[in-house]
Symmetry: C2
């Protein structure tokens, strides 16, 4: 009997308990799932979220993996008691949601929709936007989410330049690569993990590399952007608009200048939501792999931090 | 020497003259292109737009085809002097622009962007939208434009039901088919040609078939919609929003209720613009075909009206 401990907290248990039971049964696993801690030494798998009260993993001596319900693991990865294999959530439904948000907001800015959505002067200005093939996009971060978004944008003819921190086929990388990627991008999408190296990646110097009027879309991690630098570049009009889904503090505080800035759209961390049914299937698959001695999916590389 | 007469008017000549000369040369055609009428009996091909002063085609006794720069031919097709083969414009760039508008506004409504773009109360409501796979779309009109839009939406996982007036593989058709298509659609896109049969197709009875809160996107022809019926359904909230790119009178008159209706977005006939360079290549290809005795592309079937 495989012992699975749901340590992600009471609120998430209400949402995930049922889907997880279903997914474990569908995977043919003989597993016991509990949301209260059994004998720690007997726990085979821990299902986890950063908000969990569980912070000391030392007693879980027999645990084969800690399976995060979240894609971002920056709040977990530095926990020195967590020595067990750690897996991130890569939920196909989360990827779909992210692709929809990124393609939708890219097209919104590309087509200049806002001037039609908000048009109190009833202005009939039938200047056509260029075609997508003439709108260069830079995708910063080419992991599972960034690659899926780049593919969907390319299918609509957007020329997408991918950039990742480490070398990847078909992508720019490194500091020089980032300079090249930003130099011509009219729309920049950031889907980088939060690591010490990516914090404030979009600072004043990097924002200055973009052509005037460029648009920033950030559905990834709030800390990638130097907020003061972005506000400065928005104030001068060097950056034409920023549509931001993630912030250093969430919910975004009511007095934050992003709320009232005319060149900023705040979306409330909705770009990519983990969906219980499909996330539960990913968790069950990793438990099946662990029991079969196969390598885990989406295992975190602690030297990279994600 | 093939004689080509550009009869689409002086303003379009400025835009199309150069690209047409280039395209004719690239097609290897030994053609003379003029924007003033030579001997009508000597004209081999007429390049045409509905706004042209040329309305009597009788003198053009040797003309092999009238090639429209416009996709819509409803203002031409009833001209009884026009007995020559008539071809519509099907411009790949026009199709691309249409796909961008349709996918963009579908995603805008699907994601509920407007409540984030206009959010004076700074409300942080992180309710996630459903995934595209749970948002049924009806595509009314499955010609070149409708099919391209349906394909692009399906690539993003939207379940798209296609409807066309006449039977087509994989599409619903006829009156019963329309009822079925409207019954579950949360977003309806109309890309039908304007014919006597499609005028006011979306009337009060048909709008009532849609589920409450459905969204209408009309980038096709203004006359497809019964404007009073739509305004009535918007007033009750039965229709949640209408984003309209085409109107019975354009520019949309300043006193038209669409301008100030909170559930209407007006875009100024920008969904699909013919692009001179790619349209010129389509015209040149049809002239090449005519000279080679091959069938014309996009020839209008006068019994159907498009």
């Amino acid at each position: 009997m495989t012992q699975v401990y749901f340590a992600a907290g009471r609120a998430l248990w209400a949402e995930y308990g049922g889907p997880l039971q279903t997914a474990l049964a569908e995977a043919g696993l003989d597993a016991t799932l509990t949301d209260t801690c059994p004998d720690p030494a007997a726990v085979d798998y821990i299902i986890y979220a950063p908000s969990s009260p569980l912070q000391d993993f030392t007693p879980f001596t027999g645990t084969k993996a800690v399976l995060s319900l979240w894609a971002g693991v920056e709040r977990i990865v530095g926990n020195i008691t967590l020595t067990q294999p750690l897996c991130r959530m890569v939920d196909p439904a989360l990827t779909m949601g992210m692709v929809e948000w990124v393609v939708g907001h890219t097209l919104r800015h590309h087509l200049g929709m806002d001037r039609h959505i908000i048009n109190p002067g009833h202005r009939w200005d039938n200047t056509c936007p260029p075609l997508a093939r003439d709108r260069p996009v830079a995708m910063l971060g080419m992991g599972a989410l960034g690659s899926a978004c780049a593919d969907a944008l390319r299918a609509l003819n957007f020329p997408v330049t991918g950039w990742s921190r480490s070398p990847r086929p078909g992508c720019l990388h490194g500091t020089d690569g980032l300079t090249t990627a930003l130099h011509t991008a009219q729309i920049v999408v950031t889907l980088l993990p939060k690591t010490p190296e990516t914090e404030n990646l979009l600072n004043a110097a990097r924002l200055a590399l973009l052509p005037r009027g460029a648009v920033i879309l950030n559905p990834g991690r709030g800390a990638i952007i130097d907020d003061d630098a972005l506000l400065g570049a928005l104030n001068t009009g060097h950056i034409g608009h920023a549509t931001l889904d993630v912030f250093r503090t969430e919910p975004l505080p009511q007095d934050h200048p992003y709320w009232s800035h005319p060149r900023v759209t705040v979306t409330p961390h909705i770009a990519a939501d983990t969906r219980p049914a499909s996330a539960a299937r990913v968790i069950a698959e990793n438990i099946r792999r662990g029991q079969a001695g196969e390598p885990f999916l989406h295992r975190v590389d602690r030297t990279r931090g994600y």
